[in-house]
Symmetry: C2
Subunit: 432 residues, 2 copies
């Protein structure tokens, strides 16, 4: 039983009731935000000691002896590369540490291919059209990068174990203008999906019409588990190993940052790729920079130390985030019991819950929520060009608000879902 089974009379009465409920919320002048994946103040406080880990000149030397207060070190200091290698599931030798933003590293990587090609291939700006595969729902800032370079973003459905590989294989094999794919392979944004071993293997072994096809492997949430128990943590096959085994060793570029480990926007970002790719990237990078901020690299290496310390630190994040995700699960289960037409993800890590609203209601839900003082990510934002054909996907970001605010915001959200669904069913009946 759900709203769809109600009579039109009952549904009309329900709609009035739901409107009244929302009005009550509106009277409270709420300003709540579940829009973006920002860490909360409590999470940021976990890294307070990092602020002062470098106290004086003697603290500023890297293990190589390099003074991190002076120029040099294009690829980053070894201790920072070693740290980022953990997040990137790779070896230190294959890692370049950049500035504060993995997004910038991705943009620059696309820019290099666009301007200069990949390992001797034709620069991508010389094509009439470059196309890019975009698993959907996905990350709006990814899609914006390829769109900004004039690429055609091609949506590919996400399944429960990653992108629909039948579709990916068909497209990649058929069109040499398809140059790559965006991937958030673990605890994906927004679906919380971790790619299965089979999906990773099929990506590595993909038959591509373009010999310079590239997998952009944004492992943004690689150590961002919600649970400490290993059996509750998702595992991801290493794309590098698969690409090497398949004879496509240069097909991938991995990205990660500490923005959701230490401080957002003041962390360090890094990439890893094959030795050949890294050599090419370094040659190009050396024109654009003398190197990243090594003091901040050193701060991170001293503060996060090693894999065990990093895991312990991430466990503290989980302790703050887990109750929020569990609250989302509880409030949605309870608040939407008996409504029908919708579903949502149950992630074990990352920063988002994906809500699948009844078809055709996502925009309306976001609008109603905004009118009631709750800001959500725009409906459609998880699709290229903002165009969700079913108008169904809503990304819920529970990390930023304190839990008591989240509680209220979720009440409002459920109210908006119910009202939008009731409205939509009534309109359907009126027009058919």
């Amino acid at each position: 039983m759900g709203y769809a089974d109600l009579s039109t009379v009952d549904l009309t009465a329900l709609k009035v009731e739901l409107e009244d409920e929302l009005s009550l919320h509106r009277a409270h002048d709420l300003t709540l935000n579940m829009a973006r994946g920002k860490p909360s103040a409590a999470q940021l406080d976990l890294s307070t000691d990092m602020l002062t880990v470098l106290k004086g000149p003697d603290d500023c030397f890297a293990e190589s002896g390099l003074d991190c207060r002076n120029y040099g070190g294009l690829e980053g200091i070894d201790e920072a590369r070693r740290l980022m290698a953990i997040l990137l599931d790779d070896k230190m030798e294959n890692v370049i540490v950049g500035g504060n933003s993995s997004l910038t590293l991705m943009y620059s990587a696309i820019g290099r291919f666009y301007d200069f090609g990949a390992r001797g291939s034709k620069p991508w700006h010389r094509y009439d059209k470059v196309k890019w595969l975009c698993p959907v729902p996905g990350y709006d800032r990814h899609f914006a990068i390829t769109e900004s370079f004039g690429f055609e973003n091609i949506p590919v459905p996400m399944n429960e174990d990653g992108p629909d590989m039948d579709v990916v294989e068909r497209l990649a094999a058929s069109d040499a203008c398809i140059k790559g794919i965006w991937c958030v392979p673990k605890y994906s944004n927004p679906g919380g999906v971790t790619y299965s071993d089979e999906v990773v293997r099929r990506l590595g072994f993909l038959r591509c019409a373009a010999h310079d096809f590239r997998i952009f492997w944004d492992n943004a949430y690689s150590v961002h588990h919600l649970y400490d128990e290993p059996e509750q943590q998702d595992q991801l096959l290493d794309i590098a190993e698969v690409c090497k085994a398949s004879g496509n060793p240069n097909r991938y570029v991995k990205f990660a940052s500490t923005s959701k480990v230490t401080v957002a926007g003041a962390g360090i970002a890094a990439m890893a790729s094959s030795p050949d790719n890294i050599a090419e990237i370094k040659e190009r990078m050396s024109i654009a920079t003398i190197g990243g901020d090594k003091l901040n690299q050193l701060r991170h290496a001293r503060f996060l130390k090693d894999g065990d310390a990093l895991a312990a630190h991430m466990s503290k994040h989980a302790a703050i985030l887990r109750p929020k995700f569990e609250l989302v699960e509880k409030k949605l289960s309870e608040g939407l019991a008996g409504v029908g037409g919708c579903s949502w993800s149950h992630p074990r890590g990352g920063y988002f819950v994906l809500f699948n609203a009844p078809n055709g209601t996502a925009k309306r839900i976001v609008q109603l929520a905004r009118q009631t003082g709750v800001v959500l990510t725009s409906a459609g934002a998880t699709w290229p060009g903002g165009n969700d054909p079913k108008d169904s996907d809503i990304r819920i970001a529970p990390s930023l608000p304190p839990i008591e605010e989240l509680d209220v915001a979720l009440d409002v959200f459920c109210g908006c879902v119910k009202l939008a669904y009731a409205e939509s069913l009534l309109i359907d009946r009126l027009t058919h």
Copy 2:
């Protein structure tokens, strides 16, 4: 009287004597470096307090109330923009604060024009050939950027008051493929030249065949005086004002960083331009980044405070650098007295002394110095493609070595100049 006036017999004897002198130096296994414009450890120590200026969460809020530990703030926090406006000789409203490197900001600016054009103009990658004006001698990393995008770097002679504007005017007016010019307008790298008011005016009023011509105004040494007395400090006309007055308000982009104010490679960089340009840059930048490292911006703003505190801080740098530059002047004057054929700059700021060796000897001098344990910037590096047609320009960077090492390095340098000159004169006489 100089070496050129000596008899061949005397010159031959002198050459042997000079070789013996250098051999003595060689016996000391020197490892000295006058190659790159790096601050010395003593200079870096001046900013030690900046390391711990942010002690805890309460210190991390910008004056706007923004938590600098979280995402946001594309153009940088106001207090950092205000600080960088001083270095850029501009208003806070026109300033964007970036990451740690002004070089990266310049590379990205060229990249944007290449990929997307300037304010609606044709993307520069669509031209068969883009050309760029390069005042010489100049900064090798500038030339490398335009070269890397396939531009043709066109050398333009530097006079004592800036680039030869007769040449610039003739070239810019004649060829729509000439899209811009590199400028280090104050205490230039390497000549120490500050552009005269007339040169700045002629740049602003330049008649350009390309309507999207751009002046890259790298004001790297804007507050880097060697002397505290105002009458000993060079003054520079504001290119922004001149461009506005000439009806070319969007022609310039200014760049600066704190790499030689606080810590090299871990400072903050910024750019300033017209409101229209800044709006366009921000729109593009928003695709590539959520914003720079605001904690580092805040560190800088708190540590450097305001214009007066900045000037006092730069005066401490000058107190360390001045004796080194004065030593260069003294050692070259004394060591090369009676040699002839060479000259050098007498800068009042910046990081370099330009040495004009006897024609055809610069490469040999650098080679001899290297063999004697003194590393100099490669001869030719100050010219596009490393090609100094007279083989004469050598960039001396006295900032990094302690003064006692600099003293020895300059002895070696003078010995190398003398030997190379003697060799060159003898070869000339043998072959003519």
